[in-house]
């Protein structure tokens, strides 16, 4: 469950941000978690629910997870397609070998605090 390690990293970042901006409570947290990031979103949410309840800063905070698509480039003709689920083949030339690009980010985008 490396999702727990990632939630801990998130909470550490939130604590730093709150101190920097002199805020006491986190209202919403918006993250990008790509389909190739290796993160199970349900496990991440589960970890966040448990660990966020432990401090007054994050108790009751809402997590918004955006799952941006990855880009797949055809190894034969170079055609690029964007998809949330790995495509089987290239729509241009039918090649099945496609190189994934991006889609592996785990990014904290926005935090609403008061």
């Amino acid at each position: 469950m490396h999702e727990m390690s990632l939630v801990q990293a998130l909470l550490a970042q939130l604590t730093t941000l709150a101190a920097e901006h002199d805020k006491k409570r986190v209202i919403t947290v918006t993250l990008d978690i790509g389909p190739l990031s290796g993160v199970v979103i349900d496990s991440f949410q589960f970890g966040f629910d448990i660990l966020s309840a432990e401090t007054s800063l994050t108790k009751g905070a809402k997590l918004i997870i955006i799952n941006p698509p990855a880009t797949y480039q055809c190894i034969r003709c170079g055609h690029r397609q964007s998809a949330a689920v790995r495509p089987d083949h290239c729509p241009e030339c039918n090649e099945t070998l496609l190189i994934p690009e991006g889609g592996d980010a785990i990014i904290l985008n926005q935090v609403e605090m008061e």
Partner: protein, 254 residues
Amino acid sequence: MCDSCGCDLTDNHSHKTDSRVIEVHQSLLAANDAIAAENRAHFEAMGVVAINMISSPGSGKTTLLEKTIERLKGKIRIGVIEGDIETDRDAQRIRAKGVPVVQMTTGGACHLDAAQIHKGLHLLEKEPGGDQLDLLFIENVGNLVCPATFDLGEHQRVVLVSVPEGPDKPAKYPKAFISSQIFVITKTDLLPYFDFPVAEAKADALHLNPRLQVMALSATSGEGFEAWIEYLQEVTENKGSGVQAGGRKEGTYP
């Protein structure tokens, strides 16, 4: 400028609460990746090529390292950082082969992270011969999932699957295969006893990552070992140049 929302208006608007949205746009792995970059610089200063070995428990990582050390004795100076949840048994096995080794125990965590490797590297340099290496193997915690997310600063990543595990591992655990340069199928001496179509496993892995180099070998019989040894000789000879070209660029993992 308004302090609450950062807008340019100075009057005539109010905020229902004192809340404010802060734009961050930073990876949750930023802290790990910063240390990984330091490790990479440290490896380069030492003139060592670092290889991160990832597989499920028992796929044969330590056995492969034992045989590799025997084969390359006197040719390539090898060191090892072992990662396990508990015990230093793997480090004892490697130490018995006469090369510098340190054991990192994660005390429960299912993967190594860059900070542990940083610590391990400093400990390794204190071992006899630990600061005079060509090749550093990092044996990750036995787990095909979590280690794939954490950059350790390695130059090359090797994912292993043993014949008894079955050929569906690339399809089921894609991340490890997408982020590796080398895929080693181990325990090929067991092929007669298991249903493991090598071509199918290879095709599935290449489907995920067409750049992956695939090898199949048995540490027990020695079958297929030449390609592995040649690969290791190549990456160590080309350190500084070939590694960069064949290996991965900084920041290509999340």
